[in-house]
Each structure stands twice: as structure tokens, then as C-alpha cells.
Amino acid sequence: MKYLISSVIILTCLAVAKFLTALLESSFPAPLLGMVLLLVLLLTGLVKEQHLKPTASPLLNYMPLFFIPAGVGIIEHLGLISQNWPLLLTIFIVVPLTSVLLIGAVIAYFKGRENDS
């Protein structure tokens, strides 16, 4: 029963999100809208954490499994990757490095470089 309730909550959010994105002809990904909807339901207290957990916990625990097939799709683009490896390598290093430096600097500016406690 608890599995049924939590599944219904999650699938309803997904279905409503799909309906809305179709209605508005938006390219915004429906599952993400569903996530936002569910978050709002949780924050407003309409849905309780314990109602959601029975289905949400195993789904989250095994989530990496669900994107393995999509990740394997990379074999269709090996040519593109080998042609553009200098670009990919540059992005691979520069993007996370600049983000880490930027965020580290912003927070250190407000909170100091040492631990406050």
C-alpha cells in the first residue's frame, strides 16, 4: 500500500508535468518540471517525506543504472569525439577549475578562508 501511494505521487507529478509541457509546447524537460512540482508539494507540506520514501528511496539508490544505456550511446559519436578531442580536453579541465575557483573565492570572501567554528 505504501509503495502504491508513493508511486502514485511520483507518477502523478510526472504526468502533470508532461501534460503542462505538452500544453505550453515548451522544450523544458518534463521530468525536471515534475521534480519542481514535487519539491513544492514537499515544501508546502501537502506531501510528507514518509509518504514518498518507499518508492523514492530505491529509485534514487539505483538511479545510476537508469542512465547507463543513455551513456553507452556515446559509441555513436566516437568520430566526433576523436575529431574534437583538444576542445573536449580543454573544457574538461577549464570548466570545473574556473567554477571551483570562482565559488571558493566568493564564499571565502564572505566567510573567511579558515573554518569559522
Binding site: 519539491l39 547507463i68 551513456g71 550511446g73 559509441i75
Partner: protein
């Protein structure tokens, strides 16, 4: 081949992933743990097998649909950790929110600029616009931008491994020891794999990283689909 063996792919992926996850859980050393990431290796080994056996991707995707279909409700379920993290950080929420947004904007902007200088094709720059976010979200956002989701996912996973290995070195180089600064930076830029590496040896930074990872998932979903077309419009 008349008798199709494609039905084997789902059980094989599940078995492979569970074995890899078990081996990873047994690994103690921090660098070895990051390098033995089960998702990374499950994708690499499955892809290598298909290539080695000269099997096409399309029937593989068709027969592993069950798994891909479950990704959608799993993403909706991400609201739960997001909510749990939200309650934790009300005190520092504004600063973390701003930092995460800056990180997400920075990742999209820097990647677009680099693509511009390399004169990369549009499909490629769309694939690299959403790298400061956890893998399932990048798949969706990249698809909505017209990029190659699998390429974005691979980049995100590799960036996570990079952050898990070199994160601490960077912070000692720039002289930052504040757990909040470290956590939010790694959580935003290097998502799950970077966060996992912090949780084990610096729990306080790890907690901030979990918050930042959850927030950047939400922020990326909102910011990137709006920001990316604007950047492209300005650059072209």
C-alpha cells in the same frame, strides 16, 4: 542471427553495475575509489563490449528501454533529497544559492566561449553547455538544447572523477580551508562523485557539497535552457 540475444542486455547491465558498485564499496583509498567509479566503468565496459563485438547501438537502446524509462520517475524523486537538504541550510541559503548560480552560469559561459574559440559545431557546443550538474539532469537539459546527451553525461562523469582526485590539491594551492567554500565549490562543479569523495574524509564539507549538488540540479534546469540560447545569440 535469427535468435536474438538482445534480451540479455538489461540483466547484464544490472549484474555488471552491482558487481562494480560492490568492488567500489570495498575500495578504501580515496583516489582509487574515485577512479573505480561504478557508473563510469559500467558505461565504458558496456560501450567497449558493443564496439568489440561490432554490435549496433540502436537495438541495444531499444532493448534496455526499461531502464531508461525508469530514469524519468527517478528524476522526479530527486525532489526528496533536494527537500531534505533545503531544511538543513536555511541559515546560509542565500550565499549558497548565489554561489551555485554563479557556478552554473560560469560553466555554461566558459564552455560556450571555449567552443566559440575552437569554432565547434553547434551540436557539440550544445552538448557541453550543461556540465555543472548531476548526470541525469545533464541528459535532459542537453537533449532539450539539441546536444548529444551521452557525450554530456560522459564529460560530467569524468569531471566528477577529476574533482574527486584533485579537489583538495586546488584548495591547498589557493589557500582555502573553509569547509563551506570547499563543499559548495565541489558540490556545484563536480556533483555526486566529487561530493562522495568529500563525505568520507571531510564530513562538514561533504554536507555542504550535498546541498550544493541538489541546488545546482535545480538551478541548472532553470538557468541553462534560458542562458544558453542567449549566449549563442550574442556570440554568433
Amino acid at each position: 542471427m535469427t535468435v536474438s540475444l538482445w534480451w540479455l542486455c538489461v540483466p547484464c547491465i544490472i549484474a555488471l553495475f552491482l558487481v562494480l558498485r560492490f568492488l567500489n564499496a570495498k575500495t578504501q583509498h580515496a583516489t582509487a575509489k574515485a577512479l573505480s567509479n561504478p557508473v563510469c566503468w559500467a558505461i565504458v565496459l558496456t560501450a567497449a563490449m558493443l564496439v568489440a563485438l561490432k554490435l549496433p547501438y540502436e537495438p541495444f537502446a531499444e532493448h534496455s528501454k526499461v531502464l531508461s524509462w525508469l530514469l524519468e520517475p527517478a528524476i522526479v524523486a530527486l525532489a526528496l533529497p533536494l527537500y531534505q537538504q533545503f531544511i538543513h541550510v536555511k541559515k546560509n541559503l542565500l550565499l549558497i544559492l548565489i554561489s551555485c548560480s554563479l557556478g552554473v552560469i560560469n560553466a555554461t559561459l566558459v564552455a560556450s566561449l571555449i567552443c566559440y574559440f575552437f569554432a565547434a559545431p553547434a551540436q557539440l557546443s550544445a552538448s557541453l553547455a550543461s556540465l555543472s550538474v548531476t548526470t541525469p539532469i545533464t541528459l535532459l537539459v542537453t537533449e532539450s538544447l539539441g546536444g548529444i546527451p551521452s557525450l554530456a553525461a560522459a564529460m560530467v562523469i569524468f569531471i566528477g572523477v577529476l574533482g574527486a582526485i584533485f579537489g583538495n590539491l586546488i584548495f591547498s594551492l589557493i589557500n582555502i580551508r573553509n569547509a563551506q567554500a570547499k563543499g559548495v565549490a565541489i558540490g556545484t562543479a563536480c556533483h555526486a562523485i566529487g561530493t562522495a569523495s568529500l563525505i568520507s574524509d571531510q564530513p562538514k564539507a561533504g554536507a555542504f557539497a550535498s546541498v550544493a549538488m541538489a541546488l545546482s540540479a535545480l538551478l541548472s534546469a532553470i538557468i541553462v535552457p534560458i542562458l544558453y540560447p542567449v549566449i549563442q545569440h550574442v556570440l554568433v
